[in-house]
Amino acid sequence: MACIEARGLRKAFKTTIALDGVNLRVEEGRIMGLIGPNGAGKTTALNAILGLTQYQGELRVLGRDPWAERDQLMRDVCFIADVAVLPRWIKVSQLLDYVTGVHPRFDRAKAEGFLAKTTIGRASRVRELSKGMVTQLHLALVMAIDAKLLVLDEPTLGLDILYRKQFYDSLLNDYFDRNRTIVVATHQVEEIQHVLTDLMFIDRGRIVFECSMEELESRYLEVMVRPEQLAAARALKPMHDRQGIGGSVLLFDGADRQRLAAFGDVRTPSISDLFVAVIGNPAGQAQGAAR
């Protein structure tokens, strides 16, 4: 069974169409990155998956309809949103008490263990913690829940580099295993490049690109071409062409590595370069997508 399966998912607000027939399938045990420009529909898609918003079309999450069965679904799904959503008035100890009280799969000892590695005091209120600490706290709660699906919406927004690195390290080392699935939507693609197993680009309410990271490495190649060979390289029909510091950087889909090596250093493109190539180019609106 797929962890998340959506067919023809649509959601329209008064003036905009946030989701325009999204089809997606996330298998169990994957870490899927949902990447898209601002307003592409990332958050709306995640909200639909979490049962926070109504939608048209078919959507099953862990075999349930999220809108109709949100409270049951939340026994198996965890969620960290872009901005800290932990209530500011609550004390850390109260938060632990409450989640222990209402969540059947919460392991309090585990959460206490994660918190022991931080400087977060039990008696502090959330409003007294720094933004990084609030995220640590939320992560400690979520990692102590034996859930099947974890949804992250810009979880590291506004955190400094240390916290960001720590966040994904903890997730990979202390949380993720084959039985869990993680969906993460973010702009900060560089730091999750090595975390993801799958990649999905969303633009204007549609899934415009999807592939696994293995596929990314085998299919897409980027080469820095010296000016004198540019014409020959362009003849191979790169999907994207941009100016680097020492020459043009060409991005190829399914080209032969040996042939490309003749032009210069061949490497796997970064997610952000691929993103610009896929979303920026054909629509001719690289500016909007480059962010």
Binding site: E28, D71, P87, R88, Y98, H103
Partner: protein
Amino acid sequence: MNTQANAMPESARESQAAAPAAIPANRLFYWSLRRELWESRYIYIAPLAAAGLFLVGFLIGTIHLPGKMRAALALSPEQQYELIQQPYQFAELLLMGTFLIVAGIYCLDALYGERRDRSILFWKSLPVSDLTTVLAKASIPVVILPLLTFAITVATQWIMALLSTVVLLGSGMSAVTLWNHLPLFQMWLGLFDHLVAFHGFWYAPIYCWLLLVSAWARRAPFLWATLPLLAIGIVEKIAFNSSHFAALLQYRFAGGPETAEFEAGHASMDSLIHLHPGQILISPGLWIGFVVAAGFLAAAVRLRRYRDPI
């Protein structure tokens, strides 16, 4: 819950065996209630502070108590009752007033505040239904506040009586007159009935209306809760020159069966809380009110589900 467990794949069932599949509804409700009391600490701090302040005032006032008791002996028995019970009734009124203010503030913020600070996204990420949450919030003014106000009032009056006794004995007087004119137990029975049946149950549609507005409004829930009612009253007056809506509101606020006696001439606090216990429970107005309240609550549950954070 078992059917759902069976529908899950093998890998899921392992982890399910380790932890119970669901938390019983009463436990979810209990923790939802705890959350409300953590979040809105004024629910108990405000009446405690009011009672404490009152007791300080009362303690200072006991300087005059021996003189007052001496003067009281010269009065008629009815005047004696009035004189002695006056501060106790004042304490009741003060705490009831605090109750109503706290209930109003609480209800208007209950479903609005969590959307404003976006913490609703956190609450909704836990396996607690909107129904459980809204019912827990509604039970604060309908059940918790009446019981809490009762307990605090009883404690306050008890301390008042004890303080008075100590002061009287200290000045070499007998406390018998005081206790003879202070049927505390009887007063408390009446108070309990009044708080639970009237301030809790009879007012339930008012609280639920406020909860509904707090689930709906994007801003200024207080204005949305009051101005439309005022508008309806005014429009009715202008268009039909009648005031049924205003009368309806007045009936609800002043209390149907209670006002009947209230207006019949026993216009003292004492008579108001010494109605036959449970009288209000058999009035149709109460049950109509419950139906209306249930409708408001159902709408609030639905709105909590649909509304995005502000």
